[in-house]
Symmetry: C2
Subunit: 353 residues, 2 copies
């Protein structure tokens, strides 16, 4: 049917290079295999990924799944042309999201979409996924990589991660365990994690016209590096507490800050009261608030304010839990308590800054 | 810290409206609940989704997972401002991908990212997810919705889907089952499914300057409607064959066409030989080939050419399998056979057109 004289067009002419994608997929496979234990029955390349779970020792295994993205932190990665850290961010965010249900991770899949899949982008992201998966003991079993000129501008890309873990039904962490009088313990974050980047970039880069390489006063690092700090994973610090009856619930402080995330694990009739003076808000958050300016209430419903994970623990056992966390290298902070209320966060005290 | 005179800026000023997102999430929850059976332990809103699998009757349950997107078919949805069909596409694509491993689906999660999350976009997509999940008996257990001005243009969006299913280890469909002499049975597609849209749109809309509402000659429908036809799900047609020893393997014909997808289920030493004259290529594909022009080899490595699923079956039992498929309302076509070779697709015959 091809008419002589017309130059036939190919899928590559339309902007999609299947060969580049195939090469990248082989690189993925090698990195991913490093994360595979005996439970993984195939590598990448089949239509689906096979994982034979070992549920011995679990009375009633429950699968816990979650999906997430990295948000506009990707724009910081693009500015700095550094892609491994956001790969790790994605894995760690997903692990934390099922960890707060009491689950340990089993396997992870990634979705990468871009206007143009460069080797630098692919290698950076996949290195980040593989390294974080290896660190957390998660099998990187599969993924989808889509080059979509027309939907993404050449330099744009997006990521989504998908995780599945398991928890024994009796050990699911849930709001029903939370009681008035429980204490809130906060674990430090490593930076903005993966939330609030639209606002942070608007302030630093659009309003203040800073460059990513400009120093962030009082930090010894640049704005770009500070913004790109990898989202902490709390699995190793918390694994030993997952079946501990002293631990009633946990909230991962992501988009929406304390204000929206802590209520997700509160039952009817209880509030969380957070003392803003209990910890020192890191300079990165203070600079955002000062330069915006951004009111404290807005900060608390946007950023993690230096506390990336909140544990709700039995008050009588809180000191013992704190000791265990310190033994894990954490610096847990008593940031508040549970009181009668209506599933909201109430703030008291003045932030230290 | 807020200085008098400066107008404090909020996350909403930066383009992210958490309230709109919260409202949409409540709508999601209602739609998703309709897909929940007793295995789903929570609704949407927790950090992770809880699914208690019922593996009774399975000797050695293996979890099969996959992730996928809809690709630049999203641009057609955007042109037509119709979003439910691409939602269904995503679910059906994912179900098909694990179906070809022999798995039945358990649960699905979605990722939606957009420059601006309008109620029309959210409602359309979620209706599509929920309807397709309900049709296929999959629990829609969770998702992530990200509004990312700066990363996506206001009217742009992207989707990723994640699925988990289960297969008994003894019934995993894999290349090792395939033998020389096996027959290839093709099941009809409903259109382009979710692949080749960059090239198709380039030809129809950029080169030929057609409008989505322009009629596609010989179809009784418009180009836009033809391109937006929902990706077929083959679960109901094939469920009865999943444990049938006559069925050796299956290939879902997605990006890369026959040329790249059939070899994914071939063992070393075997080729698939496809007779291009065995079926009539639907007019939509013929129009793309003619107008491009696009050579047949390029068509076969880009589009499904009217065959969305290829079954590799025992030749001695192929007639019986065909009969079972006909009883399910299918019109299976013998499109070729397995021969000695090196894990490639070889084509013979001339396409009928």
């Amino acid at each position: 049917m091809v008419t002589a004289g017309d130059k036939p067009i190919t899928y590559k002419d339309a902007g999609v290079d299947i060969d580049t994608k195939s090469r990248a997929m082989r690189a993925v496979a090698a990195l991913a295999r490093q994360t595979h234990g005996p439970q993984v029955l195939t590598g990448i390349g089949s239509f689906g990924s096979l994982f034979r779970p070992d549920f011995r020792g679990l009375a009633e295994p429950v699968l816990v799944s979650s999906t997430d993205g990295v948000g506009t932190k990707l724009l910081v990665a693009r500015r700095l042309q550094r892609f491994d850290t956001v790969g790790a961010d994605l894995v760690n965010h997903c692990v934390n999201d099922i960890l707060v249900m009491g689950a340990e991770p089993l396997f992870f899949l990634d979705y990468i979409a871009a206007g143009r899949l460069t080797p630098e982008l692919m290698t950076g992201l996949l290195t980040g996924f593989a390294r974080a998966c290896q660190e957390q003991g998660v099998a990187l079993v599969g993924g989808e990589t889509a080059e979509m000129p027309g939907l993404y501008r050449p330099e744009d890309f997006d990521l989504a991660g998908f995780i599945v873990g398991v928890v024994d039904r009796a050990h699911i962490l849930a709001p029903e365990r939370v009681r008035a009088g429980d204490e809130l313990l906060g674990l430090h974050s490593s930076g903005l994690h993966t939330n609030g980047y639209s606002l942070a970039q608007r302030i630093f880069f659009d309003r203040e016209r800073m460059e990513p390489t400009d120093p962030l006063p009082g930090t010894g690092t640049s704005v770009g590096e500070a913004l790109l700090a990898v989202h902490r994973c709390y699995l190793s610090a918390l694994r030993g507490l997952l079946r501990d009856p002293a631990l009633h619930a946990m909230a991962h402080i992501t988009g929406g800050g304390f204000t929206e995330n802590v209520p997700r694990v509160l039952p009817e009739g209880l509030d969380a009261v957070i003392d803003r003076g209990a910890w020192e808000v890191p300079v990165l958050f203070r600079e955002i608030a000062r330069r915006g300016p951004v009111e404290r209430d807005e900060m608390d419903r946007t950023f993690n304010m230096g506390i990336g994970m909140v544990l709700i623990v039995d008050a009588a056992l809180a000191e013992r839990v704190r000791g265990q966390l310190v033994a894990q290298g954490e610096r847990p902070v008593r940031i508040g308590r549970i009181e009668r209320g209506d599933r909201r966060v109430r703030y008291e005290g003045q932030g230290r800054s």
